[in-house]
Symmetry: C2
Subunit: 464 residues, 2 copies
């Protein structure tokens, strides 16, 4: 669904497709080893993932990439992974540019004086502490901004109110994220003094959705912020009154350099000559919530699954756990891993970075020669209510470059219906994690690891 | 339910009570005049209440009592009420003390450095801009704080995490609001340097619930704030680790004096010698949302109902609409009305100040001699899905003193299941108002006015 399936399909086509899938289902069924089933089902009682999620969000909290908070998170991660008994726990460090948030506010000066709630986007230019004041020019869509003559924008504060719809698979985030990703650059090129967008989110709370953007080479950075949905719709109502609207916008930020790193740990396989199965998520978070669903649960799910395999014996292949650093602000951790390990073979890659809603679909891209293994994986997951998806794709932000380079991968798709209610907001906190859904995730990941890294044999060093 | 029914009732008693109510219901049925039914049903298509709510929240926004924002709201109200065609539109002004919010923040300094989201409570003492730092001592309930020895509290920042349950009738707000209302005074008397409470609310968003409190005579004011539920539970988790917890708390505020006022308008009755029916809500709001459900919808519902009566002809009795000023910060508008009009007879009083959820129950206290009228009102409202409630009580904040003095009143109870998700938070914005539920409110209020102020006869000055 992510990559455009269903564009030109009418009802009949859709029904036929669904029917074809139903008819195809029995053919996909594979006998699942009892070991996989047992590991999967016992993982429905998992406590490791909650323990990691609760610990990281409570004892560290927010951990913006490149800051001392992320460094504390790495130290926490190393201690935790060692305490859990993993092998080869280490940090692979790298340097990176760091943007940090300062004071921020927005207010309508005229015609109806009132404050709005705003958050700067990552890499926004900084205003002075007093802010800037300008007339607001509103656009319903990014296309409208693109089409506007420069004269309509020059010297003004651009406002784009493009609304992202709610979807299960998160597929709206690409297209409807345009105002955040491209909007600031387009507005700057047309001479705008700043831009505010409707948050790329689906909730109606006064918690703005931040997120990274960057200005194209040669384009002057301008202050760029996101209004909450209630504030964006308020501004739309004010603009509809037809009188000139003046806004004062303060978005103070600092830029500098810092260090981040990927935290890596392993469950050694019985045959060290075989390529590892890489599972992970990202350790860093945005700065206003505690990064519970983005992405404490991601590292927790992957790690809990690996822990369950480790505690059950010794897998054939090594499981490599990576808690990537600096994902949010530009995939720096993924890039660093690619640089250092991109030439090593990997048996499969999987990343959890879409919250902790229950997993509803499995995609994979293991290659034609491993189709039986891919179908076995589908069969192993089906009892958890997971729909067999594509056999020719996988996804993941940090592992994206490796997948793009043709490495095998698996995508366990979380239900994202409510993900963008919380994504990149102060509301991304522990209370949003449903322990039962988290356990379903761990069960799916455990089953996946049992299929891909198994079979698992008794570990002579760990009497059971 | 509000005043303690059900304390000592076992299951049997409850079932018998329910049965008695069911059996009693037919006896309460009264023939409802066609005029009342027609006005009620046509009000289900009302647009006036939305128009007022949308206009006030968009063109004024927040309107903290005693500030220039509330003054703008009064000017808006006068213009609106005149434009709608009401008579005798006027402001009755009064002076009042004014507390206003400044910079505010909270952070855990040790053992796990992180920011928490806090809002000062109304009448909090101010910290310096640098804030104060102290060790946190936590209490699960207000009773635990009361029971604590002074030595355990002296010099510390008190934290009370008492949690209010969700109820339909809002009855938890009295008892569980104690940490906000009494907590600061109790903490100060024991020598605390500040207090933070778990917000008196039911939602898990990072939007704290403010609200007024006051220190008893002779008790030193201290800084007092409310943490959001996610932050309060985070602080509880941190305290549970058992290490000393240090917090830095900044709650800057200013105090001064200002002017507020009640905005009054009327639908003149055919017989001016009869006492008026007073309907209203409050115009002021807390300072962080736009006061949509607290209480733009309240004034909107009462006013829309009066407008519908006015447009249908001329009622027997005068309808007096009051948009009370300065309710949130201490019922100053209600007090002023009492002082200026408390000795005048009123035929009935009703105030809408519990959001815009659908009305589910009607209470009234019209006196034994008017029981047939009260039952007629029940019958007129039943088709809207409204349960006949008590015949010996009514409620309302600004009209409370008048009701307490024995004046007749009606209480149309809104469904408050979700009210405390929004109450006194930045999230109290227009998008939270359901237009269909708002119309059900207007229909109920219109039916009530048709019963109490009617019958309505053609107005020679307003040909229909």
């Amino acid at each position: 669904m992510r990559d455009g399936v269903g564009y030109a399909t009418g009802m009949t086509h859709t029904v036929l497709t669904a029917l074809a899938l139903v008819l195809a289902a029995p053919a996909a069924a594979q006998t699942v080893p009892a070991q996989v089933e047992q590991l999967r089902d016992s993982a429905l009682h998992d406590e490791h993932a909650w323990d990691i999620t609760e610990g990281l969000t409570t004892e560290v909290g927010q951990r913006l990439a490149g800051t001392e908070a992320e460094a504390r998170a790495r130290a926490w991660a190393v201690a935790k992974l060692k305490a859990m008994g993993f092998a080869n726990v280490r940090v692979e460090s790298f340097d990176m540019p760091v943007w940090t948030r300062g004071a921020e506010s927005a207010e309508i000066v005229a015609p109806f004086p009132q404050k709005l709630v705003v958050a700067a986007l990552g890499n926004s230019a900084s205003t002075s502490p007093e802010g800037i004041t300008g007339q607001v020019v509103g656009f319903e869509t990014l296309a409208d901004l693109v089409a506007a003559p420069d004269a309509a924008v020059r010297g003004k504060i651009v406002f784009v109110s493009h609304a992202m719809p709610r979807t299960q698979d998160g597929s709206g985030y690409g297209y409807f994220g345009g105002p955040r990703r491209q909007g600031p650059g387009i507005a700057s090129k047309k001479g705008a003094i700043a831009i505010v967008i409707r948050s790329i989110g689906t909730d109606y709370h006064r918690n703005p959705h931040t997120g990274v953007m960057s200005f194209p080479e040669g384009v002057e950075p301008i202050p760029a912020g996101a209004l909450t949905l209630p504030d964006a719709e308020q501004l739309q109502r004010i603009l509809k009154r037809g009188r000139p609207v003046t806004m004062r916008l303060t978005l103070v930020s600092q830029t500098g350099h810092g260090q981040s790193g990927n935290v890596i740990a392993e469950v050694p396989g019985r045959d060290p000559s075989l390529p590892p199965v890489l599972v992970g998520g990202h350790l860093d978070s945005w700065d206003q919530g505690t990064g519970a669903i983005d992405d404490a649960t991601g590292v927790a799910i992957a790690t809990a699954a690996a822990k369950r395999i480790m505690d059950s014996g010794r897998p054939l292949r090594t499981i490599r756990i990576v808690w990537f650093g600096a994902e949010e602000v530009g995939l720096f951790g993924g890039e660093d891993y690619l640089k250092k390990h991109g030439s090593e073979p990997h048996y499969a890659l999987a990343e959890s970075d879409f919250g902790a809603g229950r997993i509803w679909r499995v995609n994979s891209n293991l290659g034609k020669a491993r189709e039986a293994e891919a179908k076995m994986l589908q069969s192993a997951l089906a009892p958890l209510g997971i729909v067999p998806g594509a056999l020719d794709k996988a996804e993941g932000s940090d592992i994206g470059p490796l997948l793009d380079a043709g490495m095998p991968g698996v995508g366990l798709s979380q239900d994202g219906t409510h993900y963008f209610d919380l994504h990149h907001t102060p509301d991304d906190t522990l209370d949003k994690v449903d322990p039962e859904e988290l356990r379903q995730n761990v069960a799916a990941w455990t089953a996946m690891l049992a299929v891909l890294a198994g079979p698992i044999e008794p570990d002579p060093k760990r009497p059971r």
